[in-house]
Symmetry: D2
């Protein structure tokens, strides 16, 4: 298992729908922010500045799976607890648990492929390098 | 199986990220729009106006699962092809295939629970009534 | 005066806030879409494909000014009526009237500068070429 | 003049457009969050919990005016510096200066009307009470 890193979000009025609760695509938005935050919090440079992996453009999504347990609303502080569940060659599974205190709001599981842009302009998935896995360990 | 209904989206500049492609939470946003559109296109009133199901507040999500096959960008027209895969008591599975012409961009599977607000103010899941299933058939 | 072009929007549940009305930044989002739509509806290519203006990256905003008259909600169809109020050298003023039938919801006035990317990578504002102004007339 | 309160934002990848810079409606979204944050940071309860002003629903916008000076991008930390420029009966002017360090990114000026919901369900603008102005002084 890797480190778990928390990313905090203050839920805003404008994040909520007419039912007064978070409009669910915002959770995907926050999980994406938490994914970026995770690697920099582990001490890595941002994807676009990762000189040890030239041409790196980040880790686009192949798949997301989210389960919603209860609702959150504005004025609340939530924490997104992120880790990497599995390194699988060119692909990795990142998981996010969205908590309000001890309450699990929702949980997401993202499948991402680490990609570089080749000289031709094409994207190519690459095996996650050892230095990235070590930083997250 | 139910009807399949298409909902069209013109992808905008502002829907895209620094990689020049649709930022993925927008797909969730469009699938939610397609979900609402589906039932009205089947001839049903909007959830909040569904007098045959008093107190109906709609069908909140329990779970989403999306697989991304290729990217879309601004200036493109995409269609979201929506149907109900299964009625399962108080819960139903709605699927969305996002197409650009013949190309499958991504596909989503949503698990939703049909809910009414009780006099106490609490939400309660209810069995999907026959008139809704008939309208979609 | 230029042509006026309408851009239609079906207001979605997720565009609305806990007060049940459109969360106002969405109007800016739709006005931006209407701005792009305006020029292509006038017969021009999209900014990034405008070969008669090499390096064109579009017309970034210098200023926006929006007045809100009444609210809109989901399930409603609104139209954004866009024109160019003034060509002013490298800058132009684009106006948007957001209507629901005969009701004026809000009106926006955007100041934009037409820009190209120079070989050095720097952005430079350029005088709006005659062929653009003619297409909109 | 009133207090000035800062609200911090970490700009995310998904907040940026294909030009790699913040898509401008996000500034409106952040200024709205900063507006809410301002009053609670001044020691007031959230609008919906303001028992000293029964029925308060907040302060909807009448007008916004934003000037953009330079761009911001993801990975950057920006601060939104908010104050109330003027109390004008039922209306007040709130200003936001968006800064990255010493650099002014953009500045917004919002005209808002303080509103309560009457028993009939209608909204009514009310004079900003003394206790609110005192809290912000």
């Amino acid at each position: 298992m890797t480190k778990t890193i928390a990313y905090g979000v203050d839920v805003q009025f404008g994040d909520c729908d007419p039912a007064g609760i978070v409009f669910f695509p915002n959770y995907s938005r926050w999980m994406d922010a938490a994914s970026h935050h995770y690697f920099t919090a582990c001490g890595l440079p941002p994807w676009r500045a990762m000189t040890d992996l030239p041409g790196c453009i980040g880790a686009p999504l192949l798949e997301i799976h989210t389960r919603f347990h209860t609702a959150a609303s504005y004025g609340e502080r939530i924490g997104i607890h992120t880790s990497v569940e599995e390194w699988r060659g060119k692909v990795f599974i990142q998981t996010h648990r969205v908590m309000r205190g001890d309450t699990l709001i929702c949980e997401g599981r993202e499948t991402r492929a680490l990609c570089v842009k080749e000289d031709s302009g094409k994207l190519k998935a690459v095996v996650v390098p050892e230095f990235i896995r070590t930083a997250c360990a």
